[in-house]
Amino acid sequence: MAPVRTVAAGRAAMAPPLPEVGEVGEVGRRAPVRGQRQSALLRLRGEISPALRLALAGAGVISLLGLWQLMATVWASEGFAVPTIGATVAALQELWRSGDLSADLSASSQRIAIGYAASFAIGAAIGVAVGSFRSVEAFVEPQLGFLRYIPATALTPLLLIWLGIDEAPKVALILLGTVFYNALMVGDVVRSVPGPLINAAYTLGAGRWTVLRRVVLPHSWPGMLDVARINLAAAWLMLVVAELLAANDGLAFRIIRAQRFRRIDRMFALLLVFGLIGAASDLFLRWMRNRTSPWSRP
């Protein structure tokens, strides 16, 4: 006890005294702070809680629906007809019961599945080669740079002449419209594998094939899934172009049919389906990325 008191006395003799721990400032005055306090919501890259994240996402969806409903009830006029949410859902049920919707869904998703799977397989193979070998990169880069700028949609007439009007031109359009992007973007992903990871494998006795299989591919995998996810949107774009021009079934074909009968409610129902499929596949690929590569989760 005694030495403590001595210290306190010693300190008291000095000026100015240090405040005791827990001592509060003058009553009525805010305790001074340093630094600029930032709200969690508005901070750049600040973390928000999962609950808040969910709430904001829900608010986002509801506000979009609200805007839609507002357009349908307030702004809609004779020449600018917007179906209400209720009318759209009713049209969706009607399409489903008639069996058209499921037929169209399966036709369209089959085209996407075949065309985009081929595009991703080819694109990823080219991308891995481009990202791994400077020689391949030098050879392929100018070709990709040129071909990528030819709008794939401009090829539709040609594809119809070459491949007829069946499934082939539709699948080909999806393939051609996305494969160059897949190749370039996978190439970037593979190129960004850190050099020391590759070098370390070599010094541990790995051959080139082992390095590719056990280092380059595992490191690139989450990035490749992201590429697949991003370019999937372009695949749907190509699908719609193909079905608008020549088709007897499919979601976009159904929209054209609805136009002929001025069934704007049906058109909205089909647009809703497009959006839902896109959102679902996006969520699925994200989930798969986090599931297969938990180490890369941000």
Partner: protein, 274 residues
């Protein structure tokens, strides 16, 4: 006091080891520009010795190690081990890199096992070897964690364990303890010495820390920067079985100060004076 023969004598007796002769490395930068990272380096690392390289940042230490590891090609000059010229990487030379090079998707255990898998070790032996190394590096209880769940010093220890696992003839270490706190660094230095004692591995160590170089090595090469040249080679009189007490040896302190001086006084001033 020490029965250890002088390094120069060892060299005269046997010419084996890692030998660098007139090594030049020029990097092309931009269209026309070049940087001479290494300009005529001569280096001898006799088999079973521990040799350090110190030098200011940018003097070409990492470049030298990368060439010895077979990861970079020299512009001219050679690196040989026991008379065989190095033309590419191989598991006979383990490397620990300056930047983290652990596989982020592999656990600590899987990282350490990677080299053994490449060499085709049978499962049981591999597990034993990994367990042994994790024990020595004090990582046993972290074996199932991912690198991103480790501290910087722990990651560096995993990298060292991984490089040691396949039992390389030569270890090339690029500032392996640079990111460690003083206590862990001391422990790792003792660990490196014990590995060196037990395995007779030849070790080439790059470091910023002069005291570390003097404490660990039999010889210290001091590099000068821009262009990278060997400024001086200093053989140390302490035996292999040195203990922490050697740090208080007056000769130790003198050598440390001498090397510090070599590092801090610019080479240019010396040339002008002479």
């Amino acid at each position: 006091m020490d029965a250890q023969p002088d390094l120069a004598v060892v060299e005269a007796m046997n010419t084996t080891g890692l030998v660098v002769r007139n090594l030049v490395k020029t990097y092309r930068i931009g269209r026309r520009g070049t940087v001479t990272a290494l300009d005529g380096i001569d280096l001898d690392v006799p088999n079973g010795s521990l040799v350090s390289i110190v030098g200011v940042s940018g003097c070409g230490k990492s470049t030298l190690l990368a060439i010895a590891g077979g990861l970079e090609t020299a512009t001219s000059g050679t690196v040989e081990i026991d008379g065989a010229r190095i033309v590419g990487p191989g598991p006979d030379r383990g490397m620990v890199f300056q930047s983290y090079s652990l596989y982020p998707w592999k656990t600590v255990r899987e990282n350490v096992a990677f080299g053994l898998e490449c060499a085709g070790w049978p499962r049981a032996e591999r597990d034993d070897r990994v367990a042994e190394l994790l024990g020595v590096t004090g990582l046993s209880s972290f074996a199932s964690l991912l690198p991103r769940e480790l501290s910087g010093g722990m990651r560096q220890r995993v990298a060292i364990a991984r490089a040691l696992a396949p039992g390389p003839d030569v270890l090339l270490l690029d500032e392996p303890f640079g990111a460690l706190d003083a206590q862990t660094k001391r422990a790792m230095q003792e660990f490196l010495l014990s590995v060196w004692h037990r395995t007779a591995t030849t070790i080439l160590l790059v470091t910023h820390d002069v005291e570390e170089a003097v404490y660990l090595s039999q010889r210290v090469y001091v590099l000068a920067a821009r262009p990278g040249r060997v400024r001086s080679a200093i053989d140390l009189p302490f035996g292999r079985d040195r203990g922490p007490l050697v740090r208080r040896d007056p000769r130790f302190l003198d050598l440390r100060d001498e090397i510090e001086d070599l590092l801090t006084t610019p080479a240019l001033a010396e040339e002008v004076a002479s």
